[in-house]
Symmetry: D2
Subunit: 145 residues, 4 copies
């Protein structure tokens, strides 16, 4: 596949996830070992104090990790585990989740993801940092492990 | 506060989170050190293979951890960090996230959360397991740390 | 293998780890899904304030996780990843690390470990809690993944 | 304090940890937000297959995280929690653990640590990656939280 075809495949996968549509996530970069997800911030994604809910940051990290793992392992991947540290309250126009790969093996990749919040014309703020394991699965299997 | 008042306060907090309303989460138990969140499974919460999206499981774990931390530390708490392992694909009628407390200090609690999927009349399946840190914050502060 | 033979195999594996000998770890229970490691506390295992060094607690958690994973997956296993929360300073006569299994798949097990400190005749104190993934490897392979 | 004085203080702290002496760790860099620990690999640090024991990698990550947290928060710090992914078997002459800081707050810092193995004249191999939280404590307190 060419880079453009890969990107198109990634976008189709994201569109095929009803929950990603509910969140409103968009794939804006999908290269070997580097992936960017963008989530426009809207009221429905907030918690009680007006910040983006941690669950949205977790979704962003989880999905960017899965996609960046898929960029090096192929399409049949899922996130096995990850940890996330919340660093700052998230406010602004949109979230940007950047996934990268630390190590690729035959059946798994260990990846990191940093999640930023940004307002128009302002600098990005690092809001959360994650690290996790993405594993391949057999497409006919109905089990995670 | 009585137990009933605590439970009512917990439910109000959950209702005040727009993202929890988008997800459709309900608080069904809120005792000192033990909290249960229930999420009815519907199409909008799935990924491309028909399972509940990992981001929903992460939301459930994150929020159950925050609430169970709040049950022992008071209302001004947030999740500082957690890790989650996905164990099985989640299918069924609803998710049940049970949070419990391992250790309470002055300013933080370390908690665990197990997330189950269940179909009417069937046994629960453990789908994800999480562990994390909940910290207190000053209500006037606009910063997480 | 009988339970006694399994226990003997576990003890031999621990004895074959030079670092476990340096630490002074002993395997005191090795059942399917439940393992106990004991580490007598001595001056060489402390940090600058007289508590057991976090690295010793991490070793205990890491190794109990590997062994309990091995109790359900077989001898060719290694810890892929884990997270640990330190809960209380560790003082006393010995550390007790108890590993248990949350979920077993074909190629991996997700496990938890709680590490306690104890002094003669006193109650145990929970000092650290861990959760991680143990994976099988091909015995002829020289690579972790 | 000058940079040289800070480095000297860091080295003294490491020397005051009996377990770090048992491991044989050396502090080779201690700057604001960046710390390097080196551990010469010797037989006593191995597991049964001739690789460095995971517990040594965990010690290296844990301690580099604590020290790099201390480089930005001051000397009264401890590691609250961390997660580690093991990436490759560790063989060679020495381990190099490099800690860096993602975010500093008033009472905590979130940090990462990458652990490499190296043989004389060869390229470094990334063997483990960690992320965790370092917190300040009151020097008179005898409790972690």
């Amino acid at each position: 596949m060419t880079t453009d075809e890969q990107f198109e495949t990634g976008r189709k996968t994201l569109k095929a996830q009803p929950f990603s549509q509910l969140i409103g996530a968009e794939l804006t970069a999908f290269d070997y070992g580097h992936v960017t997800l963008v989530i426009p911030i809207r009221d429905a994604l907030l918690q009680q104090n007006g910040f983006v809910h941690g669950g949205v940051l977790s979704y962003a990290a989880d999905n960017a990790l899965t996609f960046v793992g898929g960029s090096v392992l192929g399409p049949n991947v899922l996130t096995s585990e990850y940890k996330i540290n919340y660093l700052k309250p998230s406010i602004g126009d949109r979230l940007i989740a950047r996934g990268s790969v630390l190590h690729v093996g035959k059946r798994q990749a260990v990846c990191r993801c940093d999640v930023y919040a940004i307002s128009e014309g302002k600098a990005e703020t690092l809001c959360a940092a994650a690290q996790g394991t993405i594993v391949t699965f057999e497409p006919t299997s109905s089990q995670r492990s």
